[in-house]
Every structure is written in C-alpha cells, then in structure tokens.
C-alpha cells in the first residue's frame, strides 16, 4: 500500500516538533523591548545636547548599527539572536547583522565580487520593498496635497 503525499504530509507534521512559540515570543519581547528601550534612552540623552531631533535619531541608529556590526564581527551576535529571535531581527539590528554577516562570509571571494556584491543578498529585498513602499506613500501624500 502506497501512502499519498497528503497523508505523508500529515504524518510528517505530526512527528515534527514545533518551535516553542510562547517561550520564543517572551524572549523576543524582552530582547526586542530592551533594544528599543536602550535606543529611546540614547534619544533622550541626546535631547539634552544641542542636537536637533533629526540628528539625535540618526545618531541613535548609527550607534545601534555600530554595536551590531561589532558583535557580528566578533561572532557574538548570532549567539544572542539564537535566543532573541525576532527581538534582534525586527529592530535595525537585524538589518545591520544581515549585511555584515554576508560581507564577512563572502570576503574569501574578493572585495568586489565577494564582499561588495554579496553583502545585500539578505538585506536586498528589505531595501527594494522599503524604497518601493516609501515611493508609494510619497505619491499618496502628494496626491492628497493637491486638494
């Protein structure tokens, strides 16, 4: 008797353990929340300087990206992210890590065709859809502004 694909799919699903969703969500909330709270702390600290709000926002992002890049380069980021999951992936830390890890991984293939060409393999879609959405949003605002 030969098993059908659907039946085997159900059998495989039954015997494959699921990810611990509740634990993962709690960890993601704690790590992600801590990163955002840290960033907000930086923002507040910068507000006491002569920086404008735009400048302090940019500097906060630069600091988060720099910390991520350093932790990725020293092989620490993936160990944290293994527990944090979406907590480190959703903030700008996830975006920074995806670029730095690709740049590191492909440096053996040379600076141009390795590091430079491959560094956006994971982050590329984020940039494409981010820019497309921004353009669409801009167009909507423009059209509404006409009236």
């Amino acid at each position: 008797m030969s098993i059908s694909n659907e039946e085997y799919g159900r059998m495989a699903k039954r015997l494959s353990p699921n990810s611990p969703v509740v634990t993962d969500c709690i960890k993601a909330f704690i790590f992600g929340g801590s990163i955002c709270a840290f960033a907000e702390g930086l923002n507040i600290a910068f507000s006491y300087t002569s920086m404008t709000q735009e400048e302090s926002k940019a500097l906060t992002m630069i600091i988060l990206i720099a910390i991520t890049a350093i932790l990725t380069a020293f092989g620490v980021f993936d160990t944290i992210a293994k527990h944090a999951g979406a907590g480190t992936m959703v903030p700008i830390t996830g975006f920074a890590n995806s670029i730095v890890c690709s740049a590191l991984e492909f440096q053996t293939e040379g600076r141009i065709l390795g590091t430079a060409a491959q560094m956006f393999t994971i982050a590329g879609p984020v940039i494409v859809f981010g820019c497309s959405t921004a353009a669409l949003y801009g167009l909507i605002i423009y059209l509404f502004g006409l009236y």
């Binding site: 098993i3 085997y8 353990p17 990810s19 890590n97 590191l104």
Partner: protein, 337 residues
C-alpha cells in the same frame, strides 16, 4: 561477475575492507563517538582561509590516514571515488588533486558514502581494479554558506533542523586481503518524493527513500530486519527515524525494532550539543561508518549489517523555485567472514 536479484546486486569477488579512517572537527570530537575517530581537528579552518579549502583538507586527512593504515602505497591505488555537498564537488576534487590518482567524482548529497562504496565495489567486480578508495566529506560552515545563511547571521533554527557534520570518512576496498570484513551486496536506491517542501526538515524528505530501499532490499533477498545485527541509516535524525519506522510498519508491516540505528543520532549528544534533530551531511554517515561501524565489525561486535546512507537531492535553486525535495538512499550490506 556480480549478479542481480531484483534491484540488489550480489558481489562475486566480495570487495574487502582493508582499511578505513575518519577525520572530524571539534564538535564531533566532543560527541559520544570521540574515542572512535582517527583524527580530531580542533581548528575547523584547518589553518586555511576558506571553509571550502578546510573541507578538502578533512578529506585529504581521512584518505591519507586510511592509506597509511592499509599498508599500501599510493601507487597501489587504482582509483579514488568521492563526492561532497559543494557545487561541482569541489570539496573532493581539490582534496584529491594532490594525490595524482584517477578520480571518479560522484554526487549523492548526504548518501555519497554509500554511493562511492557502491561504485568502487562495482569497479572491483569488473576485475579491472584491485585497490580502490571510497570517500566523502562535509563541513558545517561550507554547507551553511551554500545551502542556508552566512555563519554569523542571527537567525533561529527550528527543532527539525539538523547539524551538518564537519568530517570525512575514507574506506580502502580491495580484491584481496583485509581482516574478514567484506561487501556482500549493494543496492542503488530509487528517488522518492512525497512532497516535502521544508528544507529545514531533511529527515522527513529522506525517510520515504530509506524505507523504499530497505523494503526493496529485504524483499529481493528474502530477509527480515532481525537477520541483521544492525541497520544503520545515514542522517535521518530524530524526525526522519521516527517517520521511517512508522512508514515501514504501516506500509510494509515490517517492524525495524531495536535493530535500526541512525548515524545522525549517534554522532552528537542531542541533550548538550544543541544540534536539534541530529547530525547530517555526507560526513555524518561517512565518519560514523569509518569509525564506530567498521571498527565494530573488525572487533566482531557486528557481523552482518546494512548501511543505508540517505540524501536529499535538492539545490538552493530548486527550493527557491518551489520544487519539493526528492530523497535517495543507497544501501551497502557489510559482512564479516
């Protein structure tokens, strides 16, 4: 000349295992089989600047060690048959380049150890080859780079994911000699695809192929699982092993019972080594065969075993194009005379 019964090939010259060797990485060296490996290299870069070059050195180390243990010189070897997971099998071709021996590259994904043993057995059966080497290798880092994400990428692995073994295994097969361990039968598997799409669940993709090969072999030979001291599958892991036993019972009415063991579940300690569903990769079945299994046969612990290495024949391109994962399993029946 070898003969065929169904899909199973019965050897006539009975290719002899005259030596074997395994070379593994740090993590494998910390696992339950640590005392059984020939070489454990703590530095998984092997002092090289790329993971691909490192993998080739693991293969080179295993072949050199097996050759040294066989007592043969390089010029006695007629051919090396090897394969790996990397594109165009560069792990093997660059690892074997310096030996200056005829080379037959094979690709069977993680089933390569059994495939290269099948090929070299048939070569010996022709009478044109006397001493052959069958080998394979895999490396966690080169496999991650090719099939998944860069090493430092901050992602989570699902519980069904397996850990690619960094290691290599090599067997010297010969028409004569050895200490009584020989290849009695071989069985080249048939591709099975039951629609699994998840590349993080290789065990589920490969289990139907293992089931098909074992069932066909048992039917061809008129034997049952209890006739064997052990039935070793390559790298089904915890999910694939459970699926294999359930499929076997449900479809064939055959209970594999306690005879079945999986190299992917033997090489790591799943409780402490964070490998989720177990080990995988060509080097998984390769290094376990060339340590625990064959030394167990030499010592007389096992006298009649089935070694079934399993492979998932997809690529990153086929996965991105939404294709399901075809599985394959090749079988080698080792006996001790």
């Amino acid at each position: 000349m070898a003969t065929r019964r169904g899909k199973t090939i019965i050897t006539e010259l009975k290719p002899k295992v005259i030596a074997f060797a395994s070379a593994v990485g740090k993590k494998e060296g910390q696992g339950p089989l640590s005392k059984e490996f020939d070489e454990i290299y703590e530095d998984t870069t092997m002092g090289e600047d790329s993971w691909e070059k490192a993998e080739s050195l693991y293969l080179k180390a295993a072949i050199s060690k097996a050759l040294a243990k066989s007592g043969l010189s390089k010029s006695d070897i007629d051919i090396i048959c090897s394969g790996d997971l990397l594109n165009q099998c560069i792990g093997s071709s660059f690892g074997i380049r310096d030996f200056q021996l005829p080379f037959c590259g094979v690709y069977g994904a993680c089933s390569t150890m059994a495939l290269s043993l099948c090929m070299t057995s048939l070569m010996i059966e022709t009478g044109a080859f006397t001493n052959c080497i069958a080998a394979t290798s895999s490396h966690f880092c080169s496999a991650e780079k090719q099939f998944r994400k860069p090493l430092e990428y901050g992602g989570q692995r699902p519980p069904t994911a397996q850990w690619t073994v960094t290691g290599s295994g090599a067997v010297v097969l010969s028409k004569d000699g050895g200490r009584g361990v020989y290849i009695d039968k071989i069985h080249l598997g048939t591709i099975q695809d039951l629609g699994i799409l998840d590349s993080n669940n290789m065990g589920a993709a490969m289990a139907p192929a293992a089931k098909k090969t074992i069932a066909d072999f048992l039917s061809d030979t008129g034997t049952k699982p209890s006739d064997y001291d052990a039935i070793f599958t390559g790298d089904l892991g915890s999910v694939g092993s459970e699926l294999l036993c359930e499929l076997m019972l449900k479809e064939e009415g055959i209970d594999l019972g306690t005879v079945h063991k999986d190299c992917g579940l033997m090489i790591y300690d799943r409780e402490t080594q964070d490998v989720h569903a177990g080990g995988s990769g060509c080097g998984c079945s390769g290094s376990v065969l060339c340590s625990h299994i064959l030394s167990g046969m030499h010592k007389g612990k096992y006298r009649n075993i089935l070694f079934i290495a399993t492979g998932a024949l997809m690529s990153t391109v086929s996965s991105l194009q939404g294709q399901t994962i075809p599985g394959i399993a090749h079988l080698v029946n080792f006996r001790k005379g």
